[in-house]
Symmetry: none
Subunit: 182 residues, 4 copies
DNA sequence: CATGAATGAGATTTCATTCAT
DNA sequence: GATGAATGAAATCTCATTCAT
C-alpha cells in the first residue's frame, strides 16, 4: 500500500545534487546528469520543467524547514537562550542534510545569485538575523549572528583536508556558533 | 611625461572585474566585456590568452601580497600577538582592494573551484592557517582562525542591505576577527 | 516497409564526403556541411561527437575491409601469387568505394596527418607491405610494393583531365600494380 | 661582394618551410611562424603580402627549374633516352631540395589544391607527361610516366620508418623511375 | 514514461590581415 | 625594417530546450 510510481524523479535529484556539488551548478550540464543516469535529456524534462526547476526542488525540503524555524522564531523572546536554540536547530538541519547539500549551499551566494532560489535563501537568512537581533543592534552583533550560522556550514569544508574527523569538525562548528551568539 | 602606450589592458581588467563581480565568472561572457569596452572580442585576445587568463591577472596583485604576508609570517613566533597583526594586515589588504575584488573572492570557492587561481588561493589560505596554529591544534582553534579571516570578507556582504555604513561594517569585521584569534 | 528512423546520419556522411573530397578536410567547415543539408550545425553534433568523428566514420568500412585483408594475408605464403591476389583485392576495394573516398584518401597523408584515422591508415599500409615482402628485402622491392598500391589510387586522378574513360584508367592502374609486384 | 640587407626574408622562408612540412600548410598559422622567429606577425607582412605569398615563394626556385626542364624537353625527340634523362634531372632536383620541400610537395595535391601554386605545379606535371608520351599513348604508358616521377618523391617517405638509409631510398626511387619510363 | 531528433542562441577561441607609428 | 594594437570573419563546439511519437 502507498507510493509506487517511478523513482526516476528522486534519482534525478540525487544525481543532480552529486554533480552540482562536484562541479557547481553552472558547470553541470543536463547532458552530464542524463548520461550518469543512463536516460536521455528529454527524460529530465518529463520530470522537471527546467534546469532551474531541478535545483529549486533540491532546496524544497530545506526551505520548508527553515520556514518552520522562522515561524517558531517569531514567537520566541529575543534572548540568548533563543539564539542558542536556533543555532542548535540549524546545526541539526545541516547535519542531517546529504553531504552534497552543504557544498551546494556555498554556491548559492555566487553561481546561483541570479536564481530565484538564491534570492529566497538569502531572504530567509536576513529574516532570521532580524529576528535574532534588534533592528538597531550594533553591526558587530548582527555580524556575529550571521557568522554563527556560517560557521556551521564552513566547518565541514575549511578543515576538509586535515585529518580531523567529520564529527569533530561538526562539533567545532557548533561550539563556535554557540560562542558567537553568546 | 610618464606612461603612454594604450591602457587597454587595464581597462579590460577593470571592466572584467566589474562584470565578474556583478554576475559571476561563469555567467560573464567575453562578448559582454568587449561590448562594454567598445572593442572586439579579438582585442581581448590580443591582451590575454584566455578568459581564465583575465581572471588570473585580476588576482596577481592580491596573491603577491598574500605571499609577502606568508613570508613574513614564517619568521614570526606563533603567538596571539602575531595572529592579531596578521588579521590587521589582512584587513588592510581587503580594505584597499577595489570593491568588486571582494565579491569576486566569494566566487573563488564555488564557480572558480576548478580554475588554477581558485586552487592557488585556497592553498595559501591553508598555509596561513597552518602558520597560525599548531598542526595538532584542536579543530575549534583552527576553525576560529579561518572564520576570523572570513569575517573580514563577509562583513561587507552580509550586512550589505542594512543601513550600516561601509566603514562600520568593515570595523565590525575587524573587531570580530581579532576576537576570534584572541 | 523496411527501415524507418531518419537517415540523417547517412546524409551527413554523404555530404561530408562530397565536401571533404571537393575542398579537403581542413577547408571544409561544419557550417558548409550543415547548410548543404539544410540542417543546423547542432544537428551534426547530435549525430557525431566532433568533426574528426565524422571523417573517421567515413573510413570505418574501408578500415574494416583492410583489416580483413590483412588477416587473410597473414595466412598466405609470401609468394608472387599472394601479392597478385592482394593487388586484385585492393583494386576491387578501391573500385567499389564511392568516388570521393579515393580523393579523400589522398588527403590522408597530408591534411589528415595529425588525425587518428591518418595514423591508422598509414599503420595498416605499413603492415601490408611488411606482410608482402621480407623485412630485409631490398629497398627497391619494398618501394615497388608501395607504389603498386599507390598506382591503383593514383590512376583515377592523374589521368583525370585526359579523355581516357574511368574504366580504362582503373584497368591501367591494376595492370601497373600487377606488373610492379610481379 | 654584394648583398647585405636583412636576411629576415630568408629566415622567414626557412621557418615557414619547416612548419609547413611539419604540420601542413593549412594547419600552420602565421602566429606560429612569427613566434618561432621571435618577430611579430606584422613583420611577416613587411616581407610578404600574404600567407599564400610565402608558400608561393618557397616554390619559386623549383618552378623555375621545372620550367627550364620543360623548355629543354620541347626540343628533344620523344625517345626512351629522353625520358631517362628527364627522370635523372628530376631526381637531381628532388635530391638537392631541402628536406621539408619534398614533404610540402605532397601537400600540394590536397591542402594546397586551391592555391595558385598548386594549380601551377599540376599544370607543369601535365605538360611534362604530354611531352614525354604521345597524346594518344595508351593509358598505361601515361600512368607509368606519372608514377615514375611520383616514385622519386615517394621513396623518401614511404620507407621512412624502416632502417634503410636515405641515400639508398633515393637510389631505389631513381631505379624504379628509370624502369618505369624504360 | 521516455526517446530520438533537432534547434537557436551563444560560448570560447583562432586566423589572416591592416595600419599608424 | 619592424612593432603594437586592433579587427572582421569564421571556426568548433555546448547548452537548455522543444516536440512528435
Amino acid at each position: 500500500m502507498g507510493e509506487r510510481r517511478s523513482d526516476t524523479r528522486e534519482r534525478i535529484q540525487a544525481t543532480a545534487l552529486e554533480l552540482f556539488a562536484e562541479h557547481g551548478y553552472e558547470k553541470t550540464s543536463l547532458r552530464e546528469i542524463a548520461e550518469r543516469l543512463h536516460v536521455t535529456k528529454a527524460a529530465l524534462y518529463y520530470h522537471f520543467n527546467s534546469k532551474e526547476d531541478i535545483v529549486v526542488s533540491l532546496f524544497d525540503g530545506l526551505i520548508a524547514e527553515i520556514d518552520a524555524t522562522i515561524a517558531w522564531l517569531r514567537d520566541q523572546p529575543r534572548t540568548a537562550e533563543t539564539r542558542r536554540e536556533l543555532v542548535q536547530r540549524y546545526a541539526r538541519l545541516a547535519h542531517d542534510s546529504p553531504p552534497g547539500m552543504r557544498r551546494l549551499l556555498q554556491d548559492v551566494r555566487s553561481s546561483m545569485r541570479e536564481l530565484s532560489v538564491g534570492e529566497q535563501l538569502q531572504e530567509r537568512m536576513r529574516t532570521m538575523v532580524r529576528l535574532l537581533t534588534d533592528r538597531d543592534a550594533p553591526a558587530l552583533t548582527q555580524l556575529k549572528c550571521v557568522m554563527a550560522l556560517a560557521s556551521i556550514n564552513a566547518a565541514m569544508f575549511v578543515l576538509q583536508d586535515t585529518d580531523i574527523a567529520a564529527e569533530e569538525r561538526h562539533a567545532a562548528g557548533l561550539t563556535l556558533a554557540l560562542e558567537l551568539v553568546g
